[in-house]
Amino acid sequence: MIVIVDRVEKVYPGGVRALRGISFSVREGEIFGLVGPNGAGKTTTFRIIASLIKPTSGKVIVDGVDVVAHPFEARKRIAYVPEEVGGYRRLTGLEYLKFIVTTFLRARGASREEVEKSVDEAVELTGLPYEKLSKTKMGDYSKGMKRRLQVAWVLAVKPKLAILDEPTTGLDVEASYELRHLIKEYSKKYGMTALISSHNMFEVETVCDRVALIKNGLIIDEGAPREIVEKYDAVNLEDAYMKILSSKKTMHS
């Protein structure tokens, strides 16, 4: 198991109980999806695994490293694309890729050649014309272009674990299609593990090996998309998702 999330609770400083004890584990090379309604706690979970915020209780282990105790070691293994995609307004896309790929790979002791190769690979992965990347500053990129840039560097550095919070939100049909295939390809080719959240059930069904459904800070079901669809006698994952949510609602009331 490359990712172990063990009874993680999170109460934000304001008192919001975002996570109420969630546990799951992810196998190496697996693409694991997190789905659930707005405010369910997906982003909170990702930020805890990425060592940006600390769990109120519980444990997170990534590739054998306790994320809370040794965040620096954990960060060498994790590349993260936040939900709200950003970019340095005054840097060109190319400058940004050079900066971030160098920073990430140097920490892992990569050579200059390896870094250069990865930058080229990242450039390729953005699917954006080189002209645009090298001449235009990120301030002038569309939201979708910024996201492609972010996902591109994450794949290019081939981290042990890629955390992609809603990676295809805001992308056009073609770009989302390509991205989904790239994530699958990189996972197969390089054994990269990926954690993905999404509101697109079709995407989750086609990309993820397993999914967890999270609601109000609790995991309410988990399994391979196919299993879940069968278990709830649904036509597809979206159908199953709706069935689960409505059944849980009646269960609570």
Binding site: A50, P71, I78, Y80, E84
Partner: protein
């Protein structure tokens, strides 16, 4: 909502803008004691109350001596005046006199030349600078009233400060040069504070803070590289300002005044002091900016952290405590090093060392904050704290 109303609201809802508005009031009102000091010292100097004065009868004839004795016995100023023999003013000052007037000349020739020696102090600088003028007026008045006719009087003033004798002109030149040099402080502090704050505010506004903090980079490196970048650019700004200023002075045919009083070592010391304060201010600005979510908010941090640098600037006018304890207070390094020609370099060295240490302490706090969750939820935390405070009321 009107356009202006919207703009004002946008600004006023920024916590840092509120801090920027409130802080100057607190700072200036807390400076009242210093200003009180100025007024009091000016009054002291004008009244000459309790001032112990010696008139040194140096090179005068018998008639003049008699005249002086009469003057001293009849004088009605607030001073106590003793008539002494001799010409060595410094040794008399050392005996505890505040003013020593060495009088040469003759009542018969109706001509006097007076050398006024005033014991000065950095602690009471305003009084030190005001005393020679009042004292010389009083002496002229006394001597003129004593003689039947108009007398020809020349007075030259000296200030005895920190075991050294300065002519009054020399001392005011040094003081003026120091005041000019102090301006360099603001050439560097404001850009440094502003750039440091913006480097943090922009990360959040551009939604890159999460990415940056998720990278395998030591928090110490993030803090120090950002500080270094802000310092490099603000040094360029300061160099441009100081360079332009020097060109202005030389082109206009004026001599660059501090060249006379400040040795190269003094200038280097002052530069290091500026750097230590700039370093402190950059780190402090970055630390506070963690609690802003916008560049707008970060911009308001710059005056907040640069304003306190005005306090020692005012202290320069009122007089500075010559104590190592005061020298270790933040923002004091520049003032103690700019006064080095008058008070020696020890205070400057202590002050600079303290300032660097304080910068490192703030840096350590900043690094801890970057390691903690506050880095991510800073503005949110600030809001929560404000809410809790309001609820308690």
């Amino acid at each position: 909502m009107k356009m202006l109303e919207k703009e004002v609201r946008v600004l006023m809802r920024e916590p840092m803008v509120i801090a920027m508005i409130v802080l100057p009031f607190i700072i200036y009102s807390s400076m009242a004691p210093f200003y009180g000091g100025i007024a009091e010292q000016t009054k002291e100097a004008a009244k000459l109350e309790g001032v112990k004065t010696a008139i040194l009868v140096c090179d005068v004839d018998q008639a003049t001596r008699l005249l002086l004795e009469t003057i001293v016995s009849r004088q009605k100023t607030n001073m106590t005046i003793h008539l002494l023999e001799g010409c060595n003013a410094t040794s008399v000052l050392a005996e505890g006199y505040d003013i020593v007037a060495v009088i040469n000349g003759s009542v018969l020739r109706r001509s006097f030349s007076t050398a006024l020696y005033v014991r000065g102090s950095i602690e009471k600088f305003t009084k030190t600078m005001a005393l020679p003028a009042t004292a010389s007026a009083v002496f002229t008045d006394l001597l003129a009233r004593g003689g039947e006719e108009e007398v020809n009087m020349t007075v030259k003033s000296y200030v005895y400060l920190n075991n050294r004798l300065y002519s009054f002109e020399e001392l005011s030149s040094i003081f003026n040069s120091a005041t000019i040099m102090i301006m360099a402080l603001f050439f560097i502090l404001f850009p440094a504070a502003s750039l440091g704050a913006v480097l943090i505010g922009a990360e959040r506004e551009e939604r890159m803070l999460d990415v940056l903090l998720s990278l395998p980079v030591r928090r110490r490196d993030i803090a120090l590289t950002k500080a270094t970048a802000a310092l490099i650019v603000s040094l360029l700004a300061a160099a441009s300002a100081i360079g332009g200023y020097m060109v202005m002075l030389t082109r206009s045919g004026l001599e660059v005044p501090f060249r006379f009083y400040f040795t190269t070592l003094d200038i280097v010391l002052y530069a290091v002091a500026l750097l230590s304060e700039a370093f402190f201010v950059v780190i402090l600005a970055m630390l506070i900016s963690i609690f802003t979510s916008t560049i707008r908010g970060a911009q308001a941090v710059a005056p907040i952290v640069a304003f306190p640098a005005l306090i020692p600037f005012f202290m320069l006018m009122t007089g500075l405590p010559l104590s190592y304890k005061t020298a270790t207070i933040p923002y004091m390094a520049s003032i103690y090093s700019v006064l080095a020609p008058l008070i020696g370099r020890n205070y400057a060295v202590v002050s600079i060392a303290a300032q660097f240490t304080e910068a490192l302490i703030v840096a350590a706090v900043f690094i801890k904050v970057l390691e903690s969750e506050i880095a991510i939820s800073g503005p949110e935390t600030l809001k929560q704290m404000a809410r809790r405070l309001r609820r308690r009321r």
